[in-house]
């Protein structure tokens, strides 16, 4: 038995070591998966679109280049106006949640952290519920009150948790996490109350809570993209600080990192990406929790590998999940993510007990 356990260890170590030494291979596989989900996401549905047609539309619309494939006007509308914005939105949201999740996990030194750990989810949900209940209809270029208040609610709760939870001092991280939990609980109670009194509007609140990409559009994508891509890039530029903080506040300080400032900046950037994602897609779970863990298993914990590969893998995973959600009859993508994500996460936890730590 001992020999069996040993040989399995050696095998796992061999493959894991091979992969770990080649982060570019992992990155290339993630990019390939991303392109595959792009082609499939645009191609599959009630009307099938060939990959060549997809690229023809993208190239002619985006760069004005004719790649020699004729596309019917109907296909052009399906690709450009209907499917592409949705697929790209899924990718953008997946990227935002995975990067924010990786950032929060590293920053809080907690493997269970996800993008919503600072109460962003409850804050956004309360904002959305208030928007639904207010007897005002306000739409500014495709952005309703719901998007605006969800965004504001997410940022406000993150800000509140950060202010109340403080930053420095002994046990500062635990205090921040507990503050996030406490503020989240209060907001959840407010949300429950709002749902209780909402009556016929309950369905609208529910659809926000379940998360979905049915409302994707170019305008929403173009507004959210700079916020998400901008914060992700700025987080990646601070990757080494994130690495240093894995050793704990005192050690990071001795390595020349201004811990309280870096933590504040990184929490703000990750909250910004999360808030922008939540505002246009509702609450989508598990992407931000699972993707960084899987990526760390493959390439180790260094931020300059984890963050970019998580961004690509998160984008691929969420667009694949959204494709699945769309094909089985437009169920909310949050449901698909949780149904697939949770068992996969359990599988990872189980594996981690047999030698491979998360």
């Amino acid at each position: 038995m001992a020999a069996g356990a040993l040989s399995r260890d050696v095998e796992a170590g061999g493959l894991a070591a091979w992969v770990r030494a080649r982060p570019l291979v992992v990155g290339a596989v993630a990019v390939a998966a991303l392109l595959l989900t792009l082609v499939l996401g645009v191609g599959l549905g009630s009307v099938r679109v060939a990959p060549a047609e997809t690229f023809a539309v993208i190239f002619s619309r985006l760069f004005g280049i004719d790649i020699g494939v004729t596309v019917s006007p109907a296909t052009d509308v399906i690709v450009w106006d209907l499917r592409l914005p949705r697929v790209l939105t899924a990718m953008l949201i997946g990227c935002a949640l995975a990067v924010a999740g990786a950032t929060f996990q590293g920053l809080l030194r907690n493997p269970l952290a996800d993008p919503y750990v600072l109460g962003t989810a409850s804050g956004a949900a309360v904002g959305a519920a208030i928007a639904v209940l207010l007897p005002v209809q306000l739409v500014v270029v495709e952005f309703g009150l719901l998007h605006g208040l969800a965004f504001v609610g997410a940022l406000a709760s993150a800000w509140l948790v950060f202010r109340l939870g403080g930053t420095g001092g002994a046990g500062g991280l635990t205090r921040l996490l507990l503050t996030g939990y406490a503020v989240g609980s209060v907001l959840a109670a407010v949300l429950t109350m709002a749902m209780y009194v909402s009556g016929v509007e309950l369905r609208q609140i529910f659809s926000f809570l379940l998360g979905g990409l049915g409302g994707s559009s170019w305008v929403r994508l173009v507004v959210a993209a700079p916020l998400i891509i901008g914060s992700s890039v700025l987080i990646m530029a601070r990757g080494r600080s994130l690495d240093g903080m894995l050793l704990g506040d005192a050690a990071a300080g001795h390595l020349g990192i201004d811990v309280s400032r870096e933590r504040g900046v990184l929490l703000a950037l990750a909250s910004m990406a999360t808030a922008a994602a939540v505002a246009i897609s509702g609450l989508i779970g598990f992407v931000g929790l699972v993707v960084p863990h899987v990526v760390r298993l493959l390439v180790g914990p260094a931020a300059h590998r984890v963050l970019p590969i998580s961004a690509i893998a998160g984008a691929a995973l969420l667009s694949a999940a959204d494709l699945g959600a769309r094909l089985v009859g437009d169920v909310p993508v949050g449901v698909v993510m949780a149904l697939l994500g949770a068992p996969f996460f359990l599988f990872l936890l189980h594996r981690s007990r047999s030698g491979y730590e998360l």
């Binding site: 070591a17 996990q105 590293g106 030194r109 907690n110 493997p111 530029a237 990757g239 080494r240 690495d243 240093g244 894995l246 050793l247 704990g248 005192a250 050690a251 300080g253 001795h254 390595l255 020349g256 990192i257 201004d258 760390r296 180790g300 914990p301 260094a302 300059h304 491979y356 730590e357 998360l358």
Partner: protein, 258 residues
């Protein structure tokens, strides 16, 4: 050794008073360490050794008095430059994720490497050198979290060595080590001090190690410096009885017996 030391101390605490909330932990301490010195700081639990180190490395703002690093008030030294000047062996901490030893040691290069592009070949060489010097080459690919406390302590010492700062500060670096590794670490400190000219300041609990490996021993008790000199002077039998409240025969010091 003092003959070649320059007039400006590597690090100096002047009338240093440190406290938390209402409690005064260090009370008007005076301590000047010349470049290239090797100094052990000893004292009973709660004497304020760690607080003194924290204040002297610029992490803890003093309530009164000053700390000067090469003649400059430590609070005026920019963070990165401070980290390039003083390396502090961190407490043995738990890492939240699996991380290979080599990558942990590489964090010691943070104050040197360019912030965005990361490790340069010279940094990688420094990391390899530190790993080899501590004698943990066999651990390089191991997950930090699988290591014993003693092995982790060696890794954290390697982080500080990779930092390649002219002043090295250690707070009880041998707590988790067996006797063989305690001696190895002491010999490494002597080597870093004598061969590389690194100024070494170490808080030690083991008076025998302090007496055997350090030419200068500073005794701290109740927040005051109560002894400063060679181990022969500061660790005399009557001083040990007075400061630590134990029978000096139990300590069996190499010099105390003389």
């Amino acid at each position: 050794m003092t003959a070649i030391a320059s007039a400006i101390p590597a690090i100096a605490a002047k009338a240093l008073t440190v406290g938390y909330a209402g409690r005064t932990v260090i009370d008007g301490a005076e301590l000047s360490v010349a470049p290239g010195e090797r100094l052990a700081l000893v004292g009973p639990n709660g004497a304020g050794k760690s607080s003194l180190l924290r204040a002297m490395t610029g992490v803890l703002a003093p309530r009164a008095g000053t700390v000067e690093l090469l003649g400059e008030p430590v609070e005026h030294v920019p963070r990165k430059q401070l980290a390039r000047t003083i390396a502090v062996v961190p407490e043995v901490a738990d890492l939240p994720f699996a991380m290979p030893v080599a990558e942990v040691v590489a964090l010691g290069r943070l104050p040197h490497e360019p912030p965005i592009t990361g490790l340069r070949p010279t940094d990688v060489a420094a990391v390899d050198g530190a790993i080899e010097r501590i004698g943990i080459t066999h651990l390089r690919r191991r997950d930090m979290r699988e290591l014993s406390m003693g092995e982790r302590q060696l890794v954290f010492i390697a982080v500080a060595v990779a930092q390649a700062a002219p002043i090295l500060v250690l707070d009880e670096p041998t707590t988790h080590l067996d006797i063989r590794h305690q001696v190895d670490v002491m010999e490494l400190l002597v080597d870093l001090n004598e061969r590389d000219g690194t100024t070494v300041i170490a808080v030690l609990h083991d008076l025998a190690l302090a007496a055997h490996f350090f030419p200068r021993v500073v005794v701290l008790a109740a927040g005051r410096v109560v002894g400063d000199g060679t181990p022969g002077e500061t660790l005399r039998a009557d001083r040990i009885r007075e400061v630590f409240g134990v029978d000096p025969a139990l300590v069996r010091l190499p010099v105390g017996a003389a």
